[in-house]
């Protein structure tokens, strides 16, 4: 338990550090930087939430923490979506699609924050574990994966139209985020969906791929 907790605290710290580094190094006024920093800060809170949830013995406190990490996870995917819209230049999202995403997001926040509609809790061997309503869990998965796919579609279409240095920037971002999101979603959503919650703590570790690819862009030395 303490090993898992320590790993998650380390991951949370790395996310926080990289979020701070990006905001310091790229202190321009670009919107996409602000959204990407928000993504990293949300990932920090999500990871901290998952970490502390491993140790909680009080059901009420556990429910609060579970809501916090679900909200953080939702902010992660939303900030990634906004990042993909604004990276390099702003993509004009279809109005109907925009309203669907807004309404769906409001519904998601509603189900996370209201009572025990979505998130429940049970005790096992002295520790608390979350238990989601399976239908709403599926709805949450559709929401998360849908936005993830659409965001990557936006990045891919920008990649296809890009040239020069922007093409390589996009490639690093796409590879890093795609691997992180796919593996993260598998362990954080799919495994709990098939009642294997005990592996959800692994999901934050895959943020490492995104961290690695962005760090490479930020710090690589050029041959002059």
């Amino acid at each position: 338990m303490w090993i898992k907790f320590s790993i998650l605290m380390l991951v949370a710290l790395l996310n926080l550090i990289l979020g701070i580094l990006i905001s310091i190094k790229n202190q321009g006024k670009e919107k996409f930087i602000k959204y990407f920093v928000l993504l990293y800060f949300s990932a920090t809170i999500w990871t901290l939430g998952l970490g502390f949830a491993l140790l909680i013995t009080d059901a009420n406190l556990f429910l609060i923490i579970a809501r916090v990490f679900y909200v953080a996870a939702t902010v992660i995917i939303l900030s990634f979506f906004m990042f993909s819209v604004h990276f390099l230049y702003s993509y004009k999202v279809n109005k109907v699609l925009k309203y669907i995403i807004i309404l769906f997001t409001l519904y998601i926040f509603y189900i996370i924050l209201s009572g025990d509609l979505f998130i429940g809790v049970y005790e096992y061997r002295g520790l608390m574990h979350e238990l989601e309503d399976s239908t709403l869990h599926l709805v949450y998965g559709i929401y998360f994966i849908g936005i993830m796919i659409y965001s990557h579609y936006l990045l891919f279409s920008k990649y296809h139209k890009s040239q020069g240095v922007n093409k390589s920037r996009l490639l690093f971002v796409i590879i890093g985020t795609a691997i992180s999101f796919v593996l993260g979603t598998f362990f954080a959503w799919y495994m709990p969906y098939i009642n294997k919650h005990y592996l959800d703590w692994i999901a934050p570790i895959f943020v490492f791929f995104m961290t690695f690819s962005i760090s490479y862009l930020l710090f690589k030395k050029e041959n002059e």
Binding site: G28, V165, N166, L218, F219
Partner: protein, 320 residues
């Protein structure tokens, strides 16, 4: 949304998928060109200006027109992007660096690099990206005359071309960049005196720049009292510094015929034994030196003032 003034001064060939180019050769071509790069219209409100140079890139009237457009519009926009042929970007950038001092908004120069090799036109690998990133620079607080190409934003006095065709064809002489495009735009702020923007419309190229010191007999003709040439700049190589007698002869000849002789060496002079006699200038790029001298000659003909201004570090133009 930010407002950007996009000035078509040259170097604007956009490659299309089929291997052909879209370029602006007259004002009516602008619409079609803008349709080929819709991304920049999503980033900012673009106001366009076309300057018909008649193939005279550094012609005085064309440069004056360019400065005039910049001065008239800079307060109405968030920044200015100038498109120019890559071959003359270093000279144009340095000229504008001297003619527009302390700009109140970013003035970013970039261009399309189309080269002909083995009877084939090689398209630019970076132009679209350069344009998009130039507008990103406009959105920052980099109130300088700078050049963006590839992933580098370079201050005009430091720019040097190092490659014919590549992602980055320019580099900074001292490897210090105003900004770099990595994940976003990493800006390295430059300490500048807070002064009001100044626009200078006059500059004169009444001098010759030699890459070496010619034979004294040739110089006797050039430095003749009756010749119109008033100033000569010689690029002095280390062995020529050692050949002190030759340099002193040149100086005496110039002094006798009331000409100003300047010795230049980019890396520096080992010993300033010329001090109050021959004017030596170092640690400045050749493009920056020639444009600085042209700017000075636009202000004054007084030799003492010319010497003082050349030696003075006015805008951080001298390299470390």
């Amino acid at each position: 949304m930010n407002k950007v003034l996009l000035i078509f001064y040259g170097g604007n060939q956009l490659s299309e998928k089929k291997g052909s180019f879209v370029s602006v050769e007259k004002e009516s071509d602008i619409n079609k060109w803008m349709q080929a790069i819709p991304e920049i219209s999503l980033m900012a409100q673009i106001k366009t200006v076309f300057i018909d140079r008649n193939n005279k890139i550094l012609d005085k009237d064309n440069i004056k027109k360019l400065i005039h457009y910049i001065e008239d519009n800079i307060d109405k926009v968030d920044g200015i992007v100038i498109l120019n042929d890559t071959d003359t970007i270093p000279l144009l950038a340095n000229q504008l660096f001297w003619q527009i001092q302390n700009p109140s908004k970013p003035i970013v120069i970039t261009g399309s690099n189309v080269i002909e090799q083995d009877n084939e036109f090689l398209p630019d690998l970076s132009f679209k990206a350069n344009l998009i990133n130039a507008i990103q620079v406009v959105n920052s607080d980099l109130n300088e005359v700078s050049v963006i190409y590839g992933n580098r934003v370079i201050l005009a006095p430091k720019i040097v071309r190092t490659k014919l065709h590549d992602l980055n064809i320019f580099k900074s002489i001292d490897k210090e960049y105003l900004a770099k495009i990595d994940f976003g735009l990493s800006i390295k702020s430059r300490i500048k005196d807070k002064r009001k923007a100044k626009y200078y419309y006059d500059f004169k190229y009444d001098f010759l720049f030699f890459n070496t010191v010619p034979d004294i007999k040739i110089l006797e003709v050039l430095l003749n009292e009756d010749s119109n040439l008033k100033i000569i700049v010689f690029k002095a190589l280390p062995n020529q510094i050692i050949e002190r007698e030759k340099l002193v002869k040149v100086f005496n000849l110039a002094q006798k015929n009331k000409k100003l002789v300047i010795f230049y060496n980019q890396i520096g002079f080992g010993k300033d034994f010329f001090k109050d006699t021959i004017l030596t200038i170092s640690k400045i790029s050749p493009e920056c030196l020639t444009t600085k001298l042209s700017w000075i000659l636009g202000k004054t003909k007084d030799e003492k003032k010319i010497r003082n201004l050349l030696k003075k570090n006015i805008q951080g133009e001298f390299l470390n």
